[in-house]
Subunit: 311 residues, 2 copies
């Protein structure tokens, strides 16, 4: 076993029969909320002998170093991936094409290249063609996060009990997919393999559209006349407060998500808008039965969620 960080307090998760870390060198490209949580979880559970972090901004690199999140902080992405048997892109998905081009020549044969982006067809489109032969490309998406961002916001238990979805393109090496799954399970996640287009449709309705709506309604409120806006803030009731929490998420990340899941997001928004207009018509014409039926469906979905232990 290579010299690595000392096992963390919850390193009991490491299987006693396999004391070898899962990866020899784990390189994280980007280190915000997700990247820094992976670094913390991988260290706490001794999943990599060495953790190397690359980040574009000098401020982020300085914080990563100060927080001791990595064994090595590397300003150059190409140098950061040298020698890595696992590389995970943890930057906003809009930066992937450029990053993939920068690191491709230095990816080691047999290495795994994964990511954590919220859109998977775009990642396969942008990164797939640049992956050298012999490197295993296993796109992933942990369904975990908070409204905070940056390396200080991460924590080792972020992925516990949450899904991580893997969307390997056809023909991906099964062993590589299994190792990435093992990595996420070791961090406490449940793992599921999805077809990329299906992933993007499901995420459009459960995550991307809710965020678009939350950002939008905050803007709508902000546009109201000054007096009303002041009281909007003062009297923010439960509904609006929850929306602002969602809307506090990282702007750069969400901009890229919207632009990279365009088709599915626009389709879901169109469906939602039709439904909202039908509700508006029922409100205008006093169709109480229609309104009550729609509200009842919200309750039904909530109950289903609770039954699935996701609430």
């Amino acid at each position: 076993m290579t010299v690595g960080p000392a096992p963390g307090p919850d390193s009991a998760a490491t299987d006693a029969d396999s004391p070898e870390p899962l990866f020899r060198q784990l390189t994280l490209i980007g280190c915000g909320l997700i990247g820094s949580s992976i670094a913390r979880a991988a260290r706490a559970r001794t999943l990599a002998a060495e953790i190397v972090v690359n980040a574009r901004s000098p401020a982020t690199r300085a914080r990563v170093a100060a927080l001791g999140l990595a064994d090595r902080v590397e300003p150059d992405p190409a140098r950061a991936v040298q020698g890595a048997d696992c590389v995970i892109l943890c930057a906003p998905v809009g930066a992937y094409a450029e990053l993939a081009a920068a690191i491709a020549p230095d990816l080691a044969p047999g290495a795994i290249l994964s990511d954590v982006g919220s859109t998977k067809q775009s990642v396969i489109r942008d990164v797939g063609p640049l992956v050298p032969r012999g490197v295993h490309f296993v796109p992933g998406h942990p369904l975990a996060g908070t409204e905070h961002s940056g390396p200080d916001a991460g924590f080792a238990s972020l992925f516990e009990g949450r899904w991580c979805l893997l969307t390997p393109p056809p023909g991906t090496d099964a062993g590589a997919v299994a190792r990435v799954g093992e990595f996420w399970r070791a961090m406490g996640s449940m793992v599921s393999v999805l077809e990329p287009a299906h992933h993007d449709r499901v995420l459009a309705i459960v995550s991307h559209l809710p965020h678009l709506i939350a950002f939008t309604i905050c803007g709508t409120a902000d546009d109201l006349a000054d007096e009303t806006r002041q009281q909007v803030l003062q009297f923010a009731a439960t509904g609006f407060r929850d929306f602002t929490r969602i809307a506090a998420s990282d702007p750069e990340m969400w901009r890229d998500v919207f632009l990279n899941n365009r088709e599915a997001l626009l389709e879901m928004l169109a469906r939602f808008t039709e439904d909202a207009q039908a509700m508006a018509r029922a409100v205008r014409w006093g169709d109480a039965a229609y309104i009550e039926d729609k509200i009842g469906r919200g309750r039904k979905i909530r109950r289903s969620l609770i039954e699935l232990n996701q609430a």
Copy 2:
């Protein structure tokens, strides 16, 4: 001091200089989440010598009796208000006109009639003309609630640290408004007096529209093909899960809120829809700067909220 319930554990809130309860007989018409929380809070803080509860449904009356929430449970609303110096309507706002007609002849001269409805112009329209001369009509709206409903869902601390908005019509007795304000402050709330139309506009954007959106998106998700729906539930990420929580609220109450704040709600929905369409256009045409700007406004509003200690 009339014989009343024993002081609750937090009765220290009662001013030592005024041992008399604020009201001799408090009558609650309706006893769901809000009504039963008022009953609990009023009892815990000895704000009424006697608490009388009327509820339409025998099941609710049975639960109120079993939970010991009232000194007397009365199936007839007219009998329930006899002798009361304070009556609070705690039913869905759509039932107010009928209830007001039923109780008006039995309201005692000098009594206060208040309510907790989420729409205030409609309450003044439906109840105002039926209030007998000499009875003080002080509409109110506590900005408090959970996604649960019914008499079992209430709790004495529900109103602590939350706003209660009073919207007295012009000419309302100032002393009556002050007493209602005193009642809510004694239950831990902050009190503000608003013009009814202004209340309805502010609530349309901070509460009614977010609920309409949450109900709608749950329906949109429910309409998706079976396989997707299953995975929507399975992989419900943060955004959607928060929406389903909002959408689990009481259907009858919200149906009435939508129908009774029609104009303001439809106006806010129209503004929101314009803004969502503008965002859709930016997504379709790849206008990254526009998207980022809109997302940034969500953060700004969130920060303002946190500064106002409402987060």
